[in-house]
């Protein structure tokens, strides 16, 4: 919970990681990919305020103590959702597995939400692993990293038939939230790597699922917005938008937020801090203080209200994840009645 000027904000970080990119975890022969990957993250990390920058070696592998301090003690976060990303082609024990993410599950219980993952390209073996993990961790969501390398494959689409079958089975299990991340490469290479049209199809066909498009489909914000405006079950995950622009490129941040508020709307935007690319503290505090600039270039964009900030910072995600929100942190009626 974060309190500022007498207003209290319930904070759900909908996109968090607890990774191991340490050198001992790099797959022999694939070290340059493992290093290239985490170096890329470290580049993004440095787009945050200088006083929040970590040493590279520490950045490779945060400890549970780091997480606890940065997220729960100093970061104002009430609940955090871990997105599991395996990348076993490059990281021996996985980059950020459900088991790793569950490190502090016992200690924090329902404040600590672990999302699972499956890879339909691995067939039943992946489903078995997923359902066993589900029994252990009680998934409410799944993270799909469509660009993940796997054997000869360099990625997949949600519309692949085997993937559709897995989406059906996920829906049957009562797991509703599908976080989709588009990534740097996808097979075949000649197609637009970040095309979001497969999410469009899946969202239409699976009305019982919520599709949270992480990083708002970056770098295809326009395609994402044109889709989200038509699909009631498509949401904007703001990780990277806040962390990568709010400090480094404030005017561009304002424009992107203005477009998202117009096309997607404040009820479908979810804060994500993307730990440990960035710590949540400066992002939460910055968002609460942030307002659309008064300059002429921004006059078409809506100003933020306190209710807008509360929804984005936590109430929208709380709704998707059935997280109980204390009465004093909910919106006052009539907006509260809608939430």
């Amino acid at each position: 919970m974060y309190e500022k000027n007498g207003e209290k904000y319930f904070v759900v970080d909908s996109h968090s990681h607890f990774w191991n990119a340490g050198r001992e975890n790099w797959v022999p022969g694939a070290e340059h990919y493992a290093k290239g990957w985490i170096d890329c993250f470290y580049g993004y990390h440095q787009l945050g305020p200088p006083e929040t920058h970590w040493d590279y070696e520490k950045f490779l592998r945060p400890t549970p103590e780091d997480f606890e301090r940065d997220v729960f003690v100093e970061g104002h976060v009430d609940h955090t959702v871990f997105q599991s990303t395996y990348l076993r082609e490059w990281y021996k024990d996985g980059f950020n597995t459900a088991a790793q993410n569950a490190a502090l599950l016992e200690k924090y219980g329902d404040r600590w939400i672990v999302n699972g993952r499956w890879d339909a390209r691995d067939g039943e073996a992946s489903w078995k692993e997923f359902t066993e993990d589900h029994k252990r961790y009680g998934f409410k969501g799944v993270k799909l990293y469509t660009a993940e390398w796997n054997g000869d494959s360099r990625g997949f689409k949600l519309t692949d038939p085997e993937c559709y079958r897995f989406l059906e089975r996920t829906q049957e299990l009562g797991i509703r939230n599908i976080h989709v991340h588009k990534g740097p490469t996808i097979w075949p290479l000649d197609k637009d790597a970040f095309d979001v049209s497969d999410v469009d199809h899946a969202a239409t066909d699976f009305q019982g699922l919520n599709f949270i498009v992480e990083h708002v489909g970056l770098p295809r914000i326009e395609d994402f917005c044109f889709m989200a405006v038509q699909e009631p079950n498509v949401y904007a995950g703001l990780s990277v938008v806040v962390g990568g622009l709010m400090h480094a490129r404030p005017k561009m941040f304002a424009k992107v937020m203005g477009e998202l508020l117009f096309w997607v709307g404040e009820d479908k935007m979810l804060f994500g801090g993307d730990y440990n690319i960035w710590t949540p503290k400066w992002q939460v505090e910055g968002l609460v203080d942030w307002q659309m600039p008064d300059d002429e270039a921004f006059t078409d964009y809506a100003k933020l209200t306190t209710a807008t900030r509360k929804k984005i910072l936590g109430l929208n995600a709380a709704r998707l994840y059935d997280i109980p929100v204390p009465a004093e942190l909910q919106l006052a009626a009539p907006e509260g009645a809608m939430a």
Binding site: G36, L47, I221, K255, E259
Partner: protein
Amino acid sequence: MTALRADVWRALDTVLDPELDEPVTDLDFVESCTVSGDGVAAVVLRLPTFFCAPNFSFLMVADAYDAVSAVPGVTRAEVTLADHHASAEINGGVAAQAGFVGSFEGSSQGEATAELDELRRAFFRKAALAGQDRVARPLVDAGAGPDELAGTVLGDLPPSAELDRMRHRRSVLGLPHDDDAPLLVHADGSGVTSGQVPLHLRRARLQRVGIEANGAYCSSLLQKRYPVAGS
């Protein structure tokens, strides 16, 4: 010698990042550019991350190779991409003039099934839409309403670099780009009616914000990856 290097640099000014629609020179993607006494031009390109999409990366290296090779006085062009997960395929493929599909044949990076012309066109379409916002925005700010905007043709507009750029994008796509062509056009080249103007402008602006936001990330990341010495 210096004059030839300047010519090579000017040739590189014509090479665009297809996604950002900006020259690689302005984007600071040219790591080095040298010309030897016997006219061999050696250009090294660099990108904001190790995992920048290989298709866009290939286009830039191949376009730079073509542009530099065409400079009178250049006897051979050597264009390479540094620090990228597909450097080997791209550099080898461009040097061998193998095309995109050929460059990735048998590669562990994955398979390419088609050349990149359609991808390039897709990004030109985006650029042509964003260009409508860039050209129309001053008119909107000056108070032009939907009727006036729907009736505006390119010949009505004062000359500007943005207008030239938009005309060029449209000509490549086969869209109307002469003086009597409407300023605001749909993707199929038909004119936008006054009733459609508000939403069309919203879309054009979103497209522009999308492209410029990508540029902002790329530029920020490039500065972190290749800090200027001493800063």
